[in-house]
Symmetry: C2
Subunit: 122 residues, 2 copies
DNA sequence: ATAACATGTGAACAGATATTCATATGTTAA
DNA sequence: TTAACATATGAATATCTGTTCACATGTTAT
């Protein structure tokens, strides 16, 4: 970036709030990478198919076939989404013969979804 | 949809799990609309700019100009995102002369973000 | 060995979305 | 009133993403 003045040209030149507030905000702020990862995590929850998958796994571990049947989605679509959920460590899998059973990876999943539901139900 | 057999052609014909489990899963499952809304809510959190905005609002209410300065983003981009955050009832606004001050709308916001952070920090 | 089955995966396509640009609206100070 | 400022908004664009399709992999039963 060539020039800070050019870069900041669109913004106001001074802050409305007090310096102490600015300092506190910047102190509490996690670094860029953490914030990116956090957004990436929520992006995972931000899809109907994935939320449904997580919901059906609340009660029991299920194989890919059962999940797609319960959701009314194709096996392929579910498989793609399970891959994403697994790489984000939200679900884990266990192979048993031809089947692969998926289950929730940790308790944060239910916590996050339940809080989200609380916000919806208002 | 023409035919349920055609529709379900790709999936297995029977469920691996017991009927009692299927019944429980379907009982606990919120309806389609709720699940859609839930995914829409998390979609809001699934963007770096919006997560950053929510974070800077943890400490204090801020005007658009301050937010964009603190984030290093353009006023326009921030304004667009604030509109989305407001329509999802995650932030509220208060007008004061030329400025518009934004603040978090309710406690669910911090709860959801903190749970997300817990998951990241593992 | 071969057929039937369950799952995984890469490419392609369509739809969604975040940013930028240009401009409009509304407010304060001169 | 006019200039400067803060914010909002619509259109355009480029990027991202979820599904589908075709097919590969791996497992079980005959």
């Amino acid at each position: 970036m060539a020039n800070i003045y050019e870069q900041d040209a669109e913004r106001c030149e001074y802050l409305c709030v007090h310096d102490s507030v600015v300092k506190k905000v910047l102190d509490e702020m996690p670094d860029e990478e953490k914030l990116f990862d956090l957004a990436e995590l929520f992006k995972i929850f931000g899809d109907s198919t994935r939320v449904k998958i997580l919901y059906v796994l609340f009660e029991a571990e299920l194989c890919v076939c059962d999940i797609s049947t319960l959701l009314g989605a194709t096996q392929t679509a579910v498989s793609h989404q399970l891959r994403i959920l697994k790489s984000s460590k939200l679900v884990k899998s266990r192979k048993d013969g031809k089947n692969v059973f998926y289950s929730l990876a940790d308790s944060h999943v239910t916590g996050i979804i339940n809080l989200g539901m609380e916000h919806i139900n208002e």
